[in-house]
């Protein structure tokens, strides 16, 4: 992609025609990120849509000095998911589907539920940041550099969080399920 920084500068100068390039670079990542937090296609599409509309309308508020564009965009996505789940149970601090009980009644894709049956309780037991890094690294195939940009951490810190998450899972999960998590799909 053409230099992301140049595109952002152009967008912030008022010409958002280049926003399409940012969209093309991040659409799939945002959708997958949200899907792994919702396990429901229609919800993921709806929240992806909200994420990008909020991003383009609020682009002037993005400050490149305070963080990367990916960090800003993924935070919008994260907030969209939080807003979605808080509409179900306002009194509980929900961030995503992992915080919900299996029988919560929230819509989830059947095949995702089936595939995740074995590992769900172990992933849900992780801290939210650990869970996010595990999913981004293992299922979305992001590099530590990308993950650190999104979370606003250093690469070393991201690796440390990943390592601690793996250690926690090793303590609780059978070995074959640990290997399940560590498959990177392309």
């Amino acid at each position: 992609m053409k230099n992301e920084k140049d595109i952002i500068i152009k967008c912030q100068s008022g010409d958002l025609s280049e926003f399409a390039r940012l969209y093309d670079a991040y659409a799939r990542k945002i959708y997958d990120f949200i899907y792994y937090k919702t396990h429901h296609k229609e919800t993921a599409e709806d929240l992806t849509s909200k994420t990008f509309f909020r991003a383009i309308k609020g682009f002037s508020s993005f400050n490149p000095e305070s963080g990367s564009f990916s960090s800003w965009l993924f935070q919008i996505a994260r907030n969209s998911v939080i807003d979605h789940y808080r509409s179900f149970k306002n009194e509980i601090d929900l961030e995503d589907v992992w915080d919900l009980a299996v029988d919560s009644g929230v819509e989830r894709d059947f095949d995702a539920c089936e595939k995740l049956k074995k590992v769900e309780k172990y992933i849900a037991s992780l801290e939210r940041e650990q869970r996010e890094i595990i999913i981004m690294r293992v299922w979305q195939g992001m590099s530590y550099a990308e993950i650190s940009a999104i979370l606003g951490k250093t690469e070393a810190a991201s690796k440390m969080v990943f390592a601690r998450a793996i250690s926690k899972l090793r303590e609780s999960m059978p070995l074959e399920l640990l290997a399940l998590l560590l498959i990177i799909w392309e």
Partner: protein, 530 residues
């Protein structure tokens, strides 16, 4: 291969994090292979993503007036740069807008291309970089051959390339090649008619040409897409043949077909950067195939009232361009090619005229803002054909990458020489018959415009396409009965091309009368009459 490398990477990750796992590597490998599909499928929908993109870009605010923040001086340079770009773009666009009578130059669809590999580009190179331009063009699309009185002109050649039905000449007939000739019989020669010369007259002043050199453009055919498209295909073993055994293969061309009613086929020539679209004939109705007798064919013929107005034809062509994301940036406003009307006007028996099934819409090619003509005097460019019967676009021709090199060449300035070639009919008629001692009909020309003319040159099997500066004289008045179909007379200005033009000047090429038909040989058996 891909899965193996990923599996190794996962194991490396694990071992780095926990070296104690070294003792369980084989166990891990087995498990990884068996449970790889456990990852949830996200059901990523490309159509949704594309539709969402369209919706988002539709609400993207238009560029607002930049506010100069004097505190952040860095932004001033970005603003100045953006302003310069805006000026550079808006001036030629404004020129085009007013030149076209206030109508925008064709739809410029947002085809969503991330990277336009066919983006317009003119690369300036050293003077006379294309070598000698003076050798003869052999198969130019517009060169007129033969006598001046012939009715077969390059206009018809252009039209017939579009649709054989567009010629509108009607009728048929002529002597069958199989007719028996009995001994002693001769077919009478038609009466000799004095050949007619056409003198193209321009009564005004040739504009002063101050430049001693002007750029000549050569289209680049670099096969830039040839190695990029579907490179995975080159690694495939088809079972019948192993494509991966071919050394360094590239994809040279590709054709695709729409499998739907009224679908199209697209042919992409990656070597010449050329794209054409045609009907997928299997998916279009062909009522003439059901005809058994002449009446059926006659009933299918279009009538004058069936012909669509130019505005409607252009609208159909424009809609097609938008639908398929055809980039019209390098072309001028659409014009309907109404050449068939010239033949209709000349036809005596208008009731028997074949009205065209297909009419061509021309988007004139522009190079560096200048219109480009063929040697015949017609504008060249992109053509979208429209079926009058179906009211649909049938094909696209002349769509190619607009990448050029430009090199300066010396320009002829002698006005008398220019006028002499104009009088004979310009570049397109330079080898044609002309004699000022026989019957001469004057054709009036208007004031010339400096433009470009397309010249094809061949060197063995290779061809190159040049656009050469030329004066274009519009034909403004044709006397009744004169068979002149040129709309413009072209005079190229590159001085080293004039040696070729000179060969056609001064000498008279006499038309040769037809020989008498000789009697058949005695042992020739007569053929059954037709």
């Amino acid at each position: 291969m891909f899965f193996q490398s990923k599996k190794k990477k996962i194991l490396k990750d694990l071992l780095l994090l926990d070296p104690e796992l070294k003792t369980r590597v084989k166990e891990l490998e087995k498990i990884i292979s068996e449970i790889i599909i456990s990852r949830p499928e996200t059901k990523f929908d490309k159509n949704f993503i594309k539709e969402l993109k369209d919706q988002i870009m539709a609400v993207a605010p238009a560029p607002s007036s930049p506010i100069i923040n004097f505190i952040n001086m860095k932004k001033i340079y970005y603003f100045a740069g953006a302003l310069a770009v805006i000026v550079l773009i808006s001036v030629p666009l404004a020129y085009q807008f007013f030149k076209s009578g206030g109508e925008l130059a064709g739809p410029i669809p947002d085809n969503g291309a991330e990277e336009n590999v066919f983006a317009s580009e003119i690369k300036k190179v050293e003077p006379r970089a294309f070598g000698l331009l003076a050798f003869a063009s052999q198969t130019s699309t517009g060169t007129m051959k033969g006598g001046a009185a012939t009715a077969v002109s390059s206009d018809i050649k252009t039209a017939s390339a579009v649709s054989p039905v567009a010629m509108g000449l009607g009728g048929g007939g002529g002597a069958s090649a199989g007719m028996a000739i009995r001994e002693g019989e001769y077919y009478p020669m038609p009466p000799y008619e004095e050949p007619v010369s056409y003198r193209f007259v321009y009564g005004g002043e040739i504009p002063d040409i101050t430049e001693s050199e002007m750029p000549v453009y050569m289209r680049i055919k670099d096969g830039r897409l040839a190695s990029r498209f579907f490179s995975e295909l080159a690694d495939m073993n088809l079972g019948l043949i192993d494509l991966s055994s071919f050394a360094d293969p590239i994809i040279q061309n590709l054709s695709l077909a729409e499998d739907r009613e009224y679908g199209h086929t697209i042919f992409i020539n990656f070597i010449d950067n050329l794209i054409s679209i045609d009907q997928n004939w299997e998916k279009w109705p062909r009522p003439e195939n059901n005809c058994q007798e002449e009446k059926c064919f006659a009933d299918l013929r279009l009538k004058e009232e069936d012909i669509l107005a130019d505005e409607e034809i252009i609208a159909i062509a424009n809609d097609f361009a938008v639908k398929y994301g055809i980039n019209l940036d390098s072309y001028g406003p659409a014009e309907v090619d109404n050449t068939w009307r010239l033949y209709y006007n000349q036809t005596v028996n208008k009731a028997d005229f074949y009205f065209p099934d297909v009419v061509s819409v021309l988007y004139p090619l522009l190079i560096d803002g200048q219109a480009v003509y063929e040697e015949s005097g017609n504008k060249t460019g992109l053509r979208i054909n429209v079926s009058v019967r179906e009211r649909l676009a049938t094909g696209v021709y002349g769509l190619f990458g607009q990448q050029y090199e430009s090199s300066n060449y010396g320009i002829i300035k002698e006005k008398e020489k220019i006028l002499s070639l104009v009088e004979r009919g310009g570049w397109g008629r330079r080898f044609g018959y002309y004699s000022d001692t026989g019957k001469v009909i004057d054709i009036e020309l208007g004031a010339p415009v400096l433009s470009l003319v397309n010249i094809w040159q061949y060197d063995g099997a290779k061809s190159r396409e040049l656009a050469v500066p030329a004066l274009v004289f519009p034909v403004v008045k044709i006397p009744e009965g004169a068979y002149v179909y040129e709309r413009n007379i072209i005079v190229p200005l590159v001085s080293e091309m004039w040696g070729e033009a000179d060969r056609g000047m001064g000498g008279v090429i006499e038309p040769m009368p037809m020989p008498l038909i000789t009697p058949a040989a005695e042992d020739s058996a007569p053929v059954e009459g037709r």
